[in-house]
């Protein structure tokens, strides 16, 4: 056992060394299955003067785009290019590039940087979009994520998720730390730290607050914490266990799970802790509620059929409080979360002792397995529904991974240290934030 442990430790150290030694290594290890033919070939030219900045913008943009699995990076040979220079369209086309990203940075007073960026369509020989903005040096990663989102939207036609945030829990020695990081795993900030477990972080729809479950009072209690101020309130501390918070789409209500009346039952509670209302009446386990996009129904895990399965419940009892079973494959389907458009949900499906990420279409009821790992947990959709973030385990250590909702691209967050679990993807952010 000790030998095994030493072995895995060595592997881990080796992995870390690899990361340190390769300057282009992003926070993500990317695995792409197929789909290569439909990737857009793009060249990200190093931004003028960015080598003198504390953070290169073009490498962050390139890593972001690459992580989507939808772009193929065409090398620029490291040539920085001024916007005023003539563009050799034929030369870039011959290299196989169909889009070109160029940019300039200018250091102003007080650590302010002017950033200019242009996206060029090489075939049409036109400029597709551009951005000129001034940011503080500490905001260079953020502006790079914004640029990647602009490129993604211009070329893919959907809203990008690079300038969003994720929350997750890190276990280090005897402490549990709830953290928030950029979607690429960088810029991690602690939200709260305790020596007792923290589980089930849930973003408010506006991204300003996190609800979570802490065991600091020797039992599970639900808290809501405002990220900007650090101020937190006790949302639910009733007799017994309080857990599984989920925000309604309007942010006014949360669904929570309480055992105060026996069993684990779903309740609604106002975001200020008032107006507790019981939703489920089953005496066994009802847990892990997730709201539909219109806020009119919940999906949740229940053992009412003898094994944990996913059910849907109408919230408005005028409709009879109809409860309908959604999953039928296998005898263990848990942790459902609706996509933001409400058309599908992701969950954990157990098959031959493997716990893997799956999605199911609400209308067709078609289930699709997206991973083949052994210990996947806690899947959550990116705000554009294109990607699912989940926790898994490698060499006994919890790590975060993503899989595209079509199963084509998988990635691991290798830069985050510690034993990581319970990820939740935050909502879109406004540019001003």
């Amino acid at each position: 056992m000790f030998c095994l442990h030493k072995y895995s430790q060595k592997l881990f150290i080796l992995l870390i060394l690899c990361l340190i030694n390769s300057p282009l290594q992003a926070a993500l290890d990317i695995e792409i299955f197929g789909g290569g033919a439909s990737q857009i070939p793009i060249t990200i030219v190093p931004f003028v003067n960015e080598t003198s900045l504390p953070q290169s913008i073009s490498t962050v943009v390139a890593n972001d785009l690459q992580s989507s699995g939808l772009f193929k990076m065409i090398d620029s040979d490291g040539l920085a290019l001024h916007a005023s220079e003539e563009i050799n369209y034929v030369g870039w086309a011959n290299r196989g590039s169909s889009a070109l990203v160029i940019g300039e940075t200018t250091l102003l007073l007080d650590n302010q940087i002017e950033v200019r960026f242009y996206l060029i369509d090489i075939a049409k020989q036109t400029q597709l979009t551009s951005l000129i903005t001034t940011v503080h040096t500490t905001q260079l990663r953020t502006v790079a994520h914004q640029i990647a989102d602009i490129i993604y939207q211009a070329l893919i036609g959907e809203v990008g998720i690079f300038n969003t945030r994720i929350a997750y829990v890190v276990k280090r020695e005897t402490s549990y730390i709830l953290q928030v990081a950029d979607a690429d795993g960088f810029n991690a900030q602690p939200v709260i730290e305790y020596t007792e477990p923290i589980i089930s972080p849930a973003w408010s729809p506006d991204g300003s607050k996190l609800a979570y479950v802490s065991f600091e009072n020797r039992k599970p209690v639900v808290y809501v914490q405002t990220l900007a101020t650090g101020v937190r309130t006790e949302l639910a501390n009733f007799e017994g266990s309080n857990s599984a918070p989920a925000w309604s789409p309007d942010g006014k209500t949360l669904a929570i799970v309480l055992t105060k009346q026996g069993g684990s039952q779903i309740f609604l509670i106002n975001a200020d802790g008032s107006g507790l209302k019981k939703l489920s009446k089953h005496a066994g386990i009802d847990t892990e509620p997730s709201f539909s996009a219109d806020g009119q129904s919940l999906i949740f895990t229940s053992d009412r059929g003898g094994s944990p399965q996913i059910y849907r419940m109408a919230i408005n009892h005028a409709s009879g409080g109809l409860i309908e079973r959604l999953t039928f494959e296998g005898n263990y389907n848990v942790s459902p979360e609706f996509s933001r458009d409400g058309k599908q949900f992701t969950f954990i499906h157990r098959n031959n002792n493997r716990f893997s990420v799956a999605v199911q279409d609400i209308a067709t009821r078609q289930m699709q397995l997206l991973t083949n790992s052994q210990f996947d947990e806690s899947p959550s959709f990116a705000p554009n529904d294109r990607v699912i973030l989940y926790a898994t385990e490698i060499n006994g250590r919890g790590i975060l991974s993503t899989v595209s909702s079509d199963g084509q691209t998988r990635q691991q967050f290798s830069s985050l240290e510690g034993d990581i679990r319970e990820p939740a993807w935050g909502p879109f952010r406004s540019i001003k934030e």
Partner: protein, 176 residues
């Protein structure tokens, strides 16, 4: 790190021991309290607090079923299996005869699947033991059931022996 492995080793030892002799469990409990492999030799040689006592309290007597404190389960099950019924009934009987005693029942699960579902499952496990105790004459005020879900594993490995060790309700008497 060394300390962690010490505790882990002890946890695993105690996992094995719970199936064998209770004397070993007694020793290991004290070891966990002293928290290090280095102390194993001296404690095992009999410098522990109670090891020289001629008689044991019934809850501590290794020959008494009341010294057994763990009920184990199948995956995703909260059914108290027949082999553990005598154990639960003995504790219920003790509570009935000792009205000033009381227990905390802690339900645990293995680490696989959903943390929230496991929290609820651990509660059902503790509740299932509580229900048998109440039906057998213990008072509700003597029995509290809580769940630790998969959050406080006793065995840390990802294999069947660790998982089955962690699918467990522990009976802890007040003051222990």
């Amino acid at each position: 790190m060394k300390k962690l492995w010490g505790v882990l080793m002890i946890s695993m030892l105690s996992a094995c021991a719970s199936q064998t002799t209770q004397q070993a469990v007694e020793v290991e409990e004290r070891l966990i309290g002293s928290g290090g492999v280095e102390q194993q030799a001296s404690t095992a040689e009999g410098q522990g607090v109670n090891s020289n006592d001629a008689t044991f309290h019934p809850l501590k007597d290794p020959n008494n079923i009341l010294s057994k404190r763990s009920i184990y389960y199948d995956f995703d099950s909260y059914v108290v299996m027949n082999e553990y019924r005598a154990l639960v009934l003995a504790h219920a009987d003790y509570l009935r005869k000792n009205v000033n005693a009381g227990v905390l029942l802690q339900g645990n699960t293995d680490s696989r699947g959903s943390r929230e579902y496991n929290l609820a499952l651990g509660q059902r496990r503790a509740d299932s033991v509580k229900n048998i105790m109440l039906l057998s004459g213990a008072k509700a005020s003597q029995v509290e059931s809580v769940s630790l879900g998969e959050e406080k594993p006793r065995a840390m490995n990802q294999d069947e022996s660790s998982w089955s060790e962690n699918r467990r309700t522990d009976i802890i008497y007040w003051g222990e």
